[in-house]
Symmetry: C2
DNA sequence: ATGAAAGCGCTAACAC
DNA sequence: GTGTTAGCGCTTTCAT
């Protein structure tokens, strides 16, 4: 593949001149030289080698995003981040770890090895030590949605406690008293916050927390058969009159189960999901869900990242975004 | 950030020795040296610089995937490709062009600038010349799903003609005679193939093609209001008794419209989609859709890419995958 | 078993 | 306006 050296030889100019022109800093170079260089570039099918230029410059213009899963929520977030940060000349690359600690860590390492300018991380639960080490490595990064207690780092997240609280409170105000949910077998604080919000809303409304209405399931995978059985038990044995799905990974098989069991929604059983989805308005009855302030999350990520890259950030930032609005539909 | 030079200084060994050990080729290096190097690596928080090593080696281990849109179909495909090609030591990076020619071309350029080992491309319609140039640049790549007539390149795709043919034939066998669809305003051959399959199935069953039942809409964006109006006209003016959605971008607002218009599905109007979606079985009535041989597509992509990278491919390959199976549900 | 040195393609400080 | 040169961090050939 052609190099600037080839262009220099072809045009009879020096490497420097070629480099200056190719980088658009050709103000002080003669029109004649510029023309010849542009011509040679086309003819030789020149493609700049970012490995070389980034190595030399000591940095890339890439922002690496590692998310736990490539679901629509994170894809959308990445697109918003991309849109915002493109103005500053950065490109965005997104990878998904499938909730695997090993993959997540490997992906972070890969980004570092490629000397990305910064990272946005929605990490898996086992990454605490890696995040601590990231700080030592002085690499600009922002955690998103997920964080670790006792670890100082920039973090941007939803108010998971408040969102869950509001959701459950909403159901109670609608007259529901036996609100079921799934408890996830994870150490991730964002999930614990949601569970705490659920419990707090019950308590503030004088309803006792009932463990039978919050059975534990796997966070990283949804076993449809297991979920089906649990829902049947919640409703038929423990009299659940509403289900609050904290994740869509469980909501999809869950809603499928509810429909197959032919419970009357919302009369017998109300449904409310933490995250919205395009299809929730298509389903009959349509599903009530919360909608997240993704734009603000993205904007804040970009702000923090840019300050961190420029070295303007004196101390780490923690931003929590207000509880989410409810898209009320037929299921509640 | 620490370099191998730092490790060399710290351990008192040479750069060469450190490099050999860090690359796991330390068979001929003393245990003692290896131990000291591993230790220094931890203490100094060393991270290899891929920019430098790739520059030196002349290649990266990255496979770049550019897709027209980050929807579930391509995400899934990318995951399958990743799984298959990881065994050969490659990593996968996926980006979406949002059906924009400029972004698509810029993303390909970026990958080339980073000297990816190969690319998988589902390009936008204006990229014909760029693909021609890619061939000249001798970069290993495989086109997927989308291709250009008259351009020699590796391509792996669904049998779009056959799939559409089978879908429409299926509807006819079910007794439908006035099958509507949307015609897309794009030059992409994969879409034209689908349209041709639609027409051929009608013809083979003795049904005349009716332009009123195949109005033209934008390929890259779905205007819900426009689609709503068109469906109303198809059904109420031109008596459509079935709709074949060739893309899910149109299917989502389309199905929404059908439900809102309260047509009886499938009695009055049958629905069939080219691509499946997790939610199609949740919707009432559930939506019949085709399912694509994604595993095979991914596997073939990987095979071709690996051969191309190794330089084993004598001539370009074109692989068309058999018509897709139908997931029959309540909407037909 | 270990080291010296060249060079991958590029940028930038400096010289003319 | 244009050229010379050093060096980014690494791998690899060739010595020792």
């Amino acid at each position: 593949m052609a190099t600037i050296k080839d262009i220099a030889q072809y045009t009879g100019l020096s490497i420097t001149t070629v480099s200056i022109v190719l980088n658009g800093k050709g103000a002080r170079i003669s029109k004649e030289a510029i023309k010849r260089i542009e011509e040679a570039k086309k003819i030789l099918n020149y493609e700049p080698n970012m490995l070389a230029s980034s190595l030399r410059k000591g940095s890339t213009n890439i922002i690496g995003i590692v998310v736990s899963d490539l679901h629509p929520y994170f894809i959308r977030l990445a697109q918003l981040i991309e849109r915002d940060i493109a103005q500053y000349g950065y490109q965005v690359l997104i990878v998904g770890s499938d909730e695997s600690d090993e993959k997540c860590e490997a992906m972070i390492d890969n980004f570092i090895n490629f000397r990305v300018a910064g990272m946005v991380l929605a990490v898996t639960s086992g990454l605490k030590q890696r995040i601590v080490r990231l700080n030592k490595q002085r690499i600009p990064f922002v955690m998103i949605d997920r964080y670790f207690k006792g670890v100082t780092a920039n973090v941007v997240l939803l108010d998971n406690f408040r969102s869950a609280y509001n959701a459950v409170d909403f159901l109670i105000k609608k007259g529901r008293t036996r609100i079921a949910t799934f408890h996830y077998d994870t150490q991730m604080h964002h999930m614990q916050d949601r569970m705490d919000g659920y419990k707090a809303a019950l308590k503030d409304n004088g309803i006792r927390f009932n463990k039978k209405l919050a059975p534990t399931i796997s966070f990283s995978e949804a076993n449809a058969i297991e979920i089906n059985g649990m829902i049947k038990e919640m409703v038929e044995v423990y009299g659940a009159d509403a289900i609050f799905f904290q994740t869509n990974r469980a909501a999809l098989p869950g809603i499928d189960a509810i429909f197959n069991l032919h419970y009357k929604v919302p009369e017998q059983l109300a449904i409310l999901c933490f995250h919205d989805n395009d299809f929730f308005k298509l389903v009959k009855p349509s599903i009530t869900a919360q909608c997240q302030p993704l734009e603000e999350l993205a904007k804040e990520c970009v702000n923090i990242l840019l300050s961190e890259i420029k070295g303007e950030l004196k101390s780490k930032v923690r931003r929590v975004f207000p509880a989410t609005i409810l898209n009320e539909r037929d299921s509640t």
